[in-house]
């Protein structure tokens, strides 16, 4: 058996929005270089959980986190952690494509410039090209890099956002329902892209599309009412789930 390396380790993670506990003590390892999907009914805490990986919840008033989230062994909630730095390691792609109201080129160049990764000029040109190529959108935009990113189609915008995310060379890419606004062809392109990207990145995706979880992920975690009910290889979870609640959910028996 191949040895699995864990990119992220979650231990007894609890999260409160004010008085209400939204995550009830989650233990989960996210395997390095794989796609992990988080599934479960609406309101079960998938997005909440996903946002814990890059401390996106910090922005929410009254939100409190307990427990541990380790990125390669380092506690990301430790007091000395620079959250901006953390988010360059753990990037995020959202449900609705949200390009900056700037040119396609600037969408990619913006963050690397801020992080001081490369200077403008040939190096930046190269970085932009590489990121767009990695996100399989280069051929479609190479002749219009100065046009606004918002002028692209939804599926192209989403790939642009993925390019923007990988431009800062993160370790982990978080995606919250990245395809819910896309047609099947654009969706297939994103799934194909995830498959290619996982060679270099660890991907965690929230999806409501069970077939997408089945097709595109290596591991699946099923959440229900703030608890992690089942976690395992996607192939196992979709053919022989261990827990009746998982079984009911993925076979479409919503009680």
């Amino acid at each position: 058996m191949k040895t699995k390396k864990n990119k992220l380790t979650v231990r007894n993670l609890k999260l409160w929005y004010g008085e209400s506990e939204a995550l009830h003590g989650i233990d989960l390892d996210i395997v390095s270089g794989k796609v992990t999907s988080l599934i479960g009914p609406s309101g079960c805490g998938k997005s909440t959980f996903l946002r814990c990986f890059n401390r996106m919840n910090d922005r929410i008033p009254n939100c409190r986190v307990e427990g541990e989230v380790l990125l390669e062994g380092h506690d990301i909630y430790a007091p000395d952690v620079d959250v901006v730095q953390l988010r360059s390691h753990v990037g995020m792609v959202f449900q609705k494509p949200n390009p900056f109201p700037k040119s396609i080129y600037e969408n990619i160049a913006y963050a690397p410039r801020i992080h001081g990764m490369v200077d403008d000029g040939d190096d930046m040109d190269e970085l932009v090209e590489t990121a767009l190529k990695r996100a399989s959108i280069w051929d479609e935009v190479k002749d219009k890099l100065q046009q606004p990113g918002t002028a692209l189609s939804g599926g192209q915008q989403q790939r642009l956002c993925i390019a923007r995310t990988i431009a800062v060379q993160p370790d982990v890419i978080l995606m919250d329902e990245p395809c819910s606004a896309l047609d099947p062809i654009a969706t297939a392109k994103i799934e194909e892209l995830m498959d290619e990207l996982k060679e270099d990145y660890t991907i965690v995706i929230v999806t409501h599309n069970m077939q997408q979880a089945a097709r595109a992920s290596d591991y699946t975690a099923y959440f229900y009412l703030g608890d992690l009910i089942e976690y395992g290889e996607t192939q196992k979870v979709f053919t022989t789930p261990r827990d009746q609640r998982t079984e009911d959910y993925i076979t479409g028996r919503f009680g």
Partner: protein, 235 residues
């Protein structure tokens, strides 16, 4: 288990299972009646068995069509998926059993040409094989993994008995050349029965897959039992 949120999907799965069960019923009947026709030199009954095989074949086609559309339109998962997969395989086994019964019925049409055939041991074998078919189908109907495991284990006895018949048959043929043609017939029929028994084993294995998700086709009985009890993790 909860009901499907999509009622029609639930109905389709239930229909798939009940069709398969009724196909099993037809096959069981075909085996029983072909043997009865043989033992009673009853050509009329034999002809009926042969005619009714068409109904079995038609059910096979119908069930296959149902599984195809379920896969394409419903994308079943977990136990639903395993039911569909198991059904695809079980239906093939049942169809083969139907053909084998038909083969026995064909011999029943000609059995009067062999008035001195030694067929007593065939009757004993066919009782056992029928019991196997019945318990495999019951296991499928009631998701009974223990019955399925028992059926798989019982097949050893059938194989033993089949071998015994082969030896006995051979002695008859060696002793008296007049028994050669009837001996060939007995050999062929016992072979058919033994193969029906094998199909009952295949069906039982699919029942275990359907209920537990374990593939026990190529493991020994002890391992299969441990897998089914959850003592052993499949890996």
């Amino acid at each position: 288990m909860n009901q499907h949120t999509f009622k029609r999907f639930e109905d389709e799965l239930n229909l798939l299972k009940s069709k398969t069960v009724s196909m099993g019923g037809l096959v069981e009947k075909a085996v029983r009646r072909s043997m009865k026709a043989l033992m009673n030199y009853d050509q009329k009954r034999a002809t009926k068995v042969i005619e009714r095989d068409r109904a079995i074949n038609a059910l096979e086609v119908e069930i296959d069509e149902m599984t195809r559309s379920l896969l394409a339109l419903r994308q079943p998962a977990a136990s639903d998926l395993r039911l569909v997969i198991a059904t695809i395989k079980i239906v093939t086994d049942l169809e083969r059993c139907g053909d084998l019964a038909e083969g026995i019925a064909e011999y029943a049409l000609k059995v009067h040409e062999h008035p001195h055939a030694h067929m007593d041991s065939l009757e004993v074998l066919s009782d056992r094989v029928l019991q196997q078919v019945k318990s495999a189908l019951d296991a499928f109907t009631y998701d009974d993994v223990n019955a399925a495991l028992q059926t798989i284990e019982n097949d050893k006895r059938i194989n033993k008995q089949y071998k015994a018949i082969e030896r006995e048959n051979l002695t008859y043929m060696l002793e008296d050349p007049r028994y050669i043609s009837s001996g060939m017939m007995v050999a062929a029929i016992s072979k058919n029965l033994e193969r029906i028994g094998d199909h009952a084993v295949n069906i039982s294995e699919m029942v275990i897959y359907k209920v537990k998700g374990h593939d026990v086709r190529h493991v020994d009985h002890a391992t299969a039992e441990r897998l089914v009890s959850g003592e052993l993790d499949a890996e």
